[in-house]
Amino acid sequence: MRDATVVNREGLHARPASRFVDRASTFASAITVQNVSRDGELVDGKSAMQMVLLEATQGCVLRVTARGGDAHEAAGSLAAFIEAGFELDPHQNTQQPDHAG
């Protein structure tokens, strides 16, 4: 389980959500995400629809939980991905996912 803050201005809208789901789908573990700031429900991190429904705006803290063989790696990678603004801003020094967590 890892917490990460949404940094990009538009928040977790459609595009970042698709990118997150793509990344999450590379892991075998089941991924759930919760918007802690809104005390929201747990959603499936591999669901494009559900991720948008998190309603995660800039500054919201997301709790990424992974269950499975690569759980540790997955949680770390995805949390870093969130904090890197989903690697969307071309001006930002894009970080590669930190598989070491």
Binding site: E10, G11, R15, S18, K46, A48, V52, E55
Partner: protein, 561 residues
């Protein structure tokens, strides 16, 4: 199934053994939608750049969303829901979730969800969704509602029956359906949610019933009824060449109401003595906009030709309220029935009005033609409309065009104001034609198209009966020709009353002429007068209806009144 602008998916379940088919249908729809999207996505990326295409990435993501897919599949498996209904339900739930969000950027995603839903639906429904004009074989049309414009197009399609959720017996859609001459059942509330594209449906117009997926016995019974119906209408048709004369020798003229130019010939074949009401507005309710003067002239000539020297009464266009031209249907009025409609609309669109008047004046040369204006409320309106006729005459004179200068100009008497002022109107009008549909609506303050109150819409209300008596009496005293068009004229329930108060000319849907004629031929004027007097003595609608029904049944015991 006809959907309006959007796909609207009715609740429908499938038999348990069809669940696998529905799941396969769903899987195939997802697969095709994804294929289609990836092609479009590639194109967008090449032509518009990655950013524009990236919104499609989310669409792709949603279509690949296992969670979403599970939700839909569970609904199919657990509830035996049809794939279309399950998809639409799940997607609607998501739309609701987005609607509750505060971030405007996210609320905007509703459109994407709708877009995805439509894409899926297109693949699920496939050819089940058809365009009326492109039907290739006979079909029954089931829809929530039909506008008069769509209804007006029915005769040119392969539709053989209609069932609608909305509507009341006297709405314009209903009137059009009746004149169309094929079975239509309206005001069913939820028929469109109970029937699905491809279902076998029986439309029983006489009993206002719709039977979906009938068993063999029912089907057989209805096939037999269909034969019997054609036999009965054949018998009534035998009355065609006999005049509507009472037993004591009084002739009642039975005219027909006509919506489409071709109907005037149909009316004459049914035994009509002329065209008592030609509703010209249906020429205007078409996608290509108002007809030109030439087009109108040709349509009016066709009506006149079809009437074969019998009198024809042309009503100038009655637009507004529930009958909108293509251009006007988006301009919402808070209260259209009390708004810019009928003659008011004509007088505010004088150019359009004059084009019609010129066409009528020119066509009048070819037959026995009268013209009248709808919904006159004041003498000023009538005078203004009449002045416009004179302007149109001047236009025609200037160009040396042939027209009938002596065409009789009358009014529809269909507002309480006109009924109260009938004596004054009688000094200025060429003739009076009572329009009971609007008169009842305005007198009783009931919207006849609103199924929640339309049961209060009744010609038997004592206020209606007395108004009719007063108007007919005033016209008779002034020596003004008075006729009645509107639904009451075609309902056998009212025939005896209307004769009894002195009406000698009734105009109705061609299909009603044989039955009304049959009734007239079985009574005397004295009998009708006695019945009218008695009907006028009651103080409630119920008593009037019961009394008139009893009296009519005594004369026509075998007919369902």
């Amino acid at each position: 199934m006809l959907e309006a602008e959007e796909y609207r998916i009715p609740y429908r379940t499938v038999p348990a053994e069809a669940v696998q088919d529905e799941l396969a249908r769903l899987a195939s729809a997802f697969e095709h939608a994804l294929e289609e999207l990836s092609t479009q996505g590639e194109w967008l990326k090449t032509n518009l750049g990655r950013d524009a295409a990236s919104v499609f990435d989310w669409h792709v993501g949603v279509l690949k969303d296992q969670h979403l897919r599970d939700n839909i599949e569970n609904l199919i498996k657990d509830k035996c829901a049809a794939a279309a209904y399950a998809t639409s339900t799940v997607m609607l739930n998501y739309q609701r979730r987005f609607m509750q969000m505060t971030d405007p950027l996210l609320v905007e995603r509703i459109r994407d969800v709708q877009d995805i839903e439509k894409r899926l639906m297109r693949h699920i429904l496939g050819e089940a969704r058809e365009d009326l004009a492109h039907l290739t074989k006979p079909a029954i049309l089931v829809a929530h509602d039909l506008g008069p414009t769509q209804t007006a197009q029915l005769p040119d399609t392969k539709v053989i029956g209609v069932a609608l959720d909305a509507g009341a017996a006297t709405s314009h859609t209903a009137i059009l359906l009746r004149s169309w001459g094929r079975p239509g059942v309206i005001g069913l509330n939820d028929v469109s949610t109970r029937v699905s594209g491809g279902d076998l449906v029986i439309i029983d117009g006489s009993n206002q019933l719709v039977i979906a997926n009938p068993d063999d016995a029912t089907l057989e019974e209805y096939r037999a009824q269909e034969v019997a119906y054609h036999k009965l209408s054949g018998e009534l048709d035998e009355l065609r060449d006999l005049p509507a004369v009472t037993k004591d020798g009084h002739r009642i003229m039975l005219h027909c109401n006509v919506e489409f130019p071709t109907e005037s010939a149909v009316g004459v074949r049914k035994g009509g003595d002329g065209v008592g009401l030609y509703r010209t507005e249906f020429l205007f309710l078409r996608p290509e906009g108002p007809p030109s003067e030439e087009e109108q002239y040709e349509a009016y000539r066709q009506v006149i030709r079809g009437a074969e020297d019998r009198p024809v009464t042309i009503r100038t266009f009655d637009l507004g309220a529930d009958k909108y031209t293509q251009q006007r249907q988006y301009e919402q009025e808070r209260n259209p029935m009390l708004g810019l409609r009928s003659i008011r609309y004509s007088l505010q669109n004088l150019d359009m009005f004059k084009i019609q008047l010129r066409a009528i004046l020119r066509a009048s040369v070819h037959g026995n033609v009268r013209m009248m204006f709808p919904l006159i409320c004041s003498l000023m309106e009538f005078r203004q409309a009449k002045m416009t006729v004179h302007d149109a005459m001047e236009d025609l004179e200037e160009t040396g065009t042939d027209f009938n200068r002596n065409v009789s100009i009358g009014m529809m008497l269909e507002t309480p104001a006109a009924a109260v002022q009938v004596k004054e109107f009688c000094r200025e009008v060429g003739f009076v034609s009572i329009g009971t549909n609007d008169l009842i609506q305005y007198l009783l303050a009931v919207d006849r198209g609103n199924e929640r109150v339309s049961q209060s819409f009744s010609g038997s209300h004592p206020a209606v009966l007395r108004s009719l008596r007063d108007v007919v009496r005033a016209c008779t005293q002034a020596g003004i020709d008075c006729s009645l068009c509107g639904e009451m004229a075609g309902q056998p329930l009212y025939t005896l009353f209307l004769m009894g108060i002195g009406l000698r000319q009734l105009s109705m849907a061609p299909a009603n002429i044989p039955e009304v004629k049959k009734l007239i031929r079985l009574v005397t004027t004295a009998q009708a007068q006695r019945i009218a007097r008695r009907a006028l003595s009651f103080d409630t609608e119920r008593q009037v209806t019961n009394y008139l029904r009893d009296e009519t049944r005594k004369v026509l015991p075998e007919d369902p009144i």
